[in-house]
């Protein structure tokens, strides 16, 4: 059980020992994003850019042009909202080799309230041509994605979360972009999830089992670019599909799945996630319960939806 932000700091520190091109640019949040581990390991390759995220993005683009592999450290909202314009024009439109370490995504941001909870980032980032958008489920997948993204030439958005969560993969996990992973077998319905919501869906499937419902869980770590074929071949076995995400129901994973299914293989899709609403300051358990993302709440919604549909 290791938090993704710790994986971020540790994996980059380790990779930088072999790869002299890696630099980390931070917008004054290194001790939250855990880029401070990199600063300690490689002080000469850690660039403090101050509380100025837009300039940090532009500086990274300039350095990438000269062969550096810049990883950026800040909170998700500051990339997908405040610095969105330079991310769009300088990074995505030029296909710059810049890696966005988007820390503190989703609702569970440590008592910050809605100002710092990004529940729109997947919708925003996946609308951007040429951007790779990744949402790891656990520490092993996160480390594998950081290794992959460092080698890949082009812009990558990596959705990180703050607090430790259960692992669903093992240390030998190998990341293949676009691949999907079945985390739980089932035959009555399919849950599709992404990021650190996926382990909670596995728990939800276990709860459903107690009620005699056999639910499969499919984890989609690559929000973009997506390979519809793998997703479709999974969905075709189920009449009822639920998407579950720690994100707005609008435009994120639910958007992705409904777009693909409606075009290629129409079936009923129920999108679970935040309604068109903002979060608030509260402990994680409270937030997961109130915004219907805990294993129990996900299972309850599935039971009730199934009843309605029948």
């Amino acid at each position: 059980m290791k938090a993704l932000r710790d994986v971020f700091g540790d994996t980059l520190s380790e990779l930088a020992r072999q790869n002299p091109s890696i630099v980390v640019l931070d917008a004054d949040l290194a001790n939250s994003t855990k880029a401070d581990k990199f600063a300690q390991a490689h002080p000469d390759r850690f660039l403090e850019m101050g509380i100025a995220e837009q300039n940090m993005v532009g500086t990274a683009v300039g350095m990438a042009t000269l062969g550096f592999v810049p990883w950026l450290s800040s909170f998700t909202i500051f990339f997908t909202h405040r610095a969105l314009d330079p991310v769009r024009m300088l990074v995505a439109q030029t296909h710059a080799n810049v890696k966005i370490g988007a820390a503190y995504s989703g609702l569970l941001t440590g008592y910050t309230g809605k100002t710092h909870q990004d529940v729109e980032d997947l919708a925003i980032m996946r609308a951007m041509p040429g951007m790779t958008v990744l949402a790891p489920a656990d520490e092993f997948e996160c480390a594998a994605m950081i290794r992959w993204a460092t080698e890949y030439v082009g812009p990558v958005y990596l959705r990180l979360t703050r607090d430790p969560g259960p692992a669903v993969f093992g240390p030998d996990y190998h990341f293949v972009p676009g691949s999907v992973h079945q985390l739980h077998e089932g035959s009555d319905l399919l849950m599709i999830s992404t990021g650190t919501q996926s382990p909670r869906c596995v728990e939800a499937a276990q709860e459903l089992k107690k009620e005699g419902i056999s639910a499969a869980v499919l984890h989609v770590p690559t929000i973009k670019p997506v390979q519809p074929r793998d997703l479709l071949s999974f969905c075709e076995k189920f009449d009822l599909v639920f998407t579950v995400e720690e994100h707005s129901r609008l435009g994120g994973l639910g958007g992705l799945v409904t777009e693909i299914l409606s075009e290629h293989s129409p079936r009923r899709v129920v999108r679970l996630g935040l309604q068109d609403e903002w979060g608030e300051s509260a402990p994680n358990d409270f937030l997961l319960d109130k915004y219907r993302l805990s294993a129990r709440r996900v299972a309850e919604q599935i039971v009730s939806k199934r009843k309605q549909i029948r």
Binding site: L47, G50, G62, T65, L66, M89, Q93
Partner: protein, 292 residues
Amino acid sequence: MTDSTDFAELTSLARRGRWHVLQTVSASGAGHVGGPMSAMDLLIALFFRVMAVRPEEPHWPDRDRFIMSKGHAAIGLYTAMALRGFFPVEELKTFDKGNSRLQGHPDMTKLPGVETSTGSLGMGLSVGLGFAIGAQRKGLGFQTFVLIGDGELQEGMIWEALHVAPRYQVANLTAILDWNGLQQFGWLHEAGATGRGDRRDPWFGVDLPAVLRGLGWRVVEINGHDFGEIIPALQSTKARDRIGQPTIILARTVKGKGLSFTEGKFEWHAKVAGSNELEIARRELEIEEVAK
């Protein structure tokens, strides 16, 4: 070659540049005129006398870098590049026409020699800072020049770069402010006030040199239409140690410079010349042949 004969050649190039700007925008039916005209002498000085570039080898690693941060002045950049030989002058005719390398705002993915894409204002200096930091770390000796507009200088992102750059001791970074005193619409003059243009300078009442010095920049003030001031100021930034204060050159310019009907007129920020205006321009710029 004496300075005066050299400046005569540069002046002639700048006239041709201004003609191409006006004519290209007219032929395309859209584009910006005032900004490219105010920056033309700076561009000609950079591309013909100051920057080490190889037009036939645009990705030459040791080249000096130029960023047109005020990307809407793209046609000014394209004109200077074409005159310098990066591509045929004839290609200017494709500007904005579809399937062209000459986009409305400079696109590094289409035209070799464009160092970064610009258009949304205020971003070029940050990329320039990345070039400068990267060059220092790789031991590359090139200079990065970033042309910014005084209208653009209102964008917050530029001030992020202006604050951070001196902390990185990037003497290999030079910002050039094309301070023409006008923007697309802007503020009206206060009663009785006058200026270089028919509207208020966006930095009216602000001691910009003092502000920039206070942030840690080396500030050089010049007349942006006098090659005798432009060239030494730009060259001085290349002659310095690579590590130290970055320089900002405050170039006083006139928007729409070079033509009686465009100088100091805010409406010529983006306006298309008609045939009468082209004819006047041809005479005033001493262009002998009207290119088709």
